[in-house]
Amino acid sequence: MPNMTYMAAIAEATREEMERDESVYLMGEDIRASVYGASAGLFEIFGEDRVIDTPLSENGFFGAAIGSSLVGQRPIVETVTSFFWVGMDQMISQAAKMRYMFGGQAKLPVTWRARMFYARGAAAHHSDRNYNIFMSTPGLKVICPTNPYDAKGLMKTAVRDNNPCLIFEDGIAISSRGEVPANEDLPGGELLVPFGEARIVREGTDCTIVGIAGGVAHAENAAKILEGEGISCEIIDPRTLVPLDKQTILTSVEKTGRLVVVDPAHEVCSVASEISSIVAQEAFWSLQAPIIKVASAQVNVPYSPALEPLVYPTPERVIEAVRETMS
């Protein structure tokens, strides 16, 4: 099975979808130069009508992508999570709402792919883990692939989905490599990962850890160490936040009786908050200990290497949280 990087998986998904469907096109800043590493060579194959380097105008070209999708195109828009803020008016006022406002007439097959930088001294303007904001906006699908397999399979599903989809490419996850099956080895000849199906990363019996985006890797590192202490953790990666596979999480908590949620977003109104509330409401009688959120401190991201690491979840913080639920 081919072993590839996360960005190579995204690039492969993009090329395959562009080959399959002429209405799929790619737009963004500096994509011919592949500044973010997922678009090398596409211009040479598909030409300037389908690989569009835009001016530095996020609100404008996000909106243009949305407009084109209303009349039959399927844009893939590449950006950075922090630049979502600039184009957010179009994303939320238009993409998220048009179909509903117009009584179901509109289809909005736009896929945004956004690099999520953080934990690298990029300071407050370039460190936004903002999927929670979009999760709480009705009308947008929110996708957080954490390995190359899911990156490819979820990306292809997103491009085919008739709704606005946002893919968050976590800076921790994108440094991963992993196996991605060749198309000829797959039953349908292609890799499609459905939305709304969580992945059980590791089975366990004592404590459920739900990891969001880069939080999955922290959970895995923590679980290995906890195993040595005789604590068996079950790790769940929801993969898509909208739609969210509540059932897999609830079933796991019913088994383990404990829940820790690891979420790199700021802790207030985070995905961890939402999942905690769902479990508190729907699996309360299964819980043997309070739920613990391991999320980012409620403070802007500082630049200094002496301060920034104090903000985010770490494997150590996850270990501490699990031990606390067990005590």
Partner: protein, 324 residues
């Protein structure tokens, strides 16, 4: 009015301060001492220095991610800038902001910004306040050719002109936004051509010539202080280095030719200025050499200061979130 000898030498000094500061930044980045991103200003020194030479300490500036030249040109302290880059508590922002967010409100530096064009409305608002408060402070914003395509930029220019605000829109057209040529992203020949659409003067200047930038800015400052409104100044310039330190993928995928880079390196703003000020006899080559030597000492001292400055303590993480 041509600048006097002291101002000409001060301009030379500030260009050297930026140049040697940036060379030092490149060195400490390649040695691994500096880990965050940084966008070198080398090649563009005449723009910030010429423009800021026309300002007073009480005037405001705001800038962008290519962020070290503007505060140094405004008279900012080198040690505080270097300490900020190293994330130390002696930095302008106590290590909270880093390279892209240098700010020193005590001399009107309202902050550099990592989100492209986001300072343009900020500077416009500072100009609005100056007018509301009956002050004669003016406001200047540095932004790139890439930034000129953001809605925030267009909206600000319209408001500034509509309300006759004392703001100078100083576009540093270094011809690329990362890899994208302005020729492929701007619909007019020159960004300054857009000024008539906002009913304000648009001026195109050689951005390698500090004196030319200074003179154009002096006119815009006079206009602004007289309550006549904003000016758009476009300085044609070039960044001699990569877009940002460590962005290797861009280097592997060339978007500008070596010949083009070499051609522009021949138009280095520092020798151009030295030539201009020595050829009239106002300043001697010895004066120039002395300036450069002095700045070397100053930058070395700044690095020393930054290295010796402590890191912020963990308890500082939550400080500075809320005003009293």
């Amino acid at each position: 009015m041509p600048p006097d000898k002291d101002l000409l030498l001060q301009m030379l000094e500030r260009m050297w301060r930026i140049r040697i500061f940036e060379e030092t930044v490149i060195e400490i980045h390649s040695s691994g001492e500096l880990q965050g991103p940084a966008h070198p200003y080398i090649g563009q020194e005449a723009v910030a220095v010429g423009a800021c030479a026309a300002l007073k300490d009480t005037d405001y500036i705001a800038g962008n991610h290519r962020s070290h030249g503007h505060p140094i040109a405004k008279g900012g302290d080198l040690g505080g800038a270097m300490a900020e880059l190293l994330g130390k508590s002696g930095g302008y922002c106590k290590g909270k902001g880093g390279s892209m967010h240098l700010a020193d409100f005590s001399i009107g530096i309202l902050g550099e910004s990592g989100i492209v064009a986001s300072s343009v409305p900020i500077a416009t608002g500072a100009a609005l306040a100056s007018k509301q408060q009956g002050k004669d402070f003016i406001s200047m914003v540095f932004f790139g050719d890439g930034a000129s395509n953001q809605g925030a930029c267009h909206e600000s220019m319209n408001m500034a002109s509509l309300w006759s605000l004392p703001v100078i829109f100083l576009c540093e057209n270094n011809q690329y936004a990362i890899t994208t040529s302005y020729k492929n992203s701007v619909s007019v020949d020159h960004i300054s051509d857009r000024a008539p659409a906002y009913n304000m003067p648009g001026v195109l200047v050689d951005g390698q010539d500090a004196i030319a930038v200074y003179e154009a800015t002096v006119h815009a400052v006079e206009r602004a202080r007289a309550g006549e409104g904003p000016t758009l100044i476009e300085c044609m310039t070039y960044r001699f280095e990569d877009h940002s330190l460590g962005l290797d993928r861009v280097r592997d995928n060339p978007y500008r030719s070596d010949e083009e880079v070499d051609e522009w390196r021949q138009r280095d703003p520092i020798p151009i200025h030295e030539e201009a000020i020595t050829s009239t006899g106002v300043v001697t080559p010895e004066d120039c050499a002395e300036v450069q030597a002095r700045v070397r000492v100053d930058v070395a001292a700044a690095l020393e200061f930054a290295r010796n400055s402590p890191y912020p303590e963990a308890k500082e993480l939550f400080e500075d979130m809320w005003a009293e």
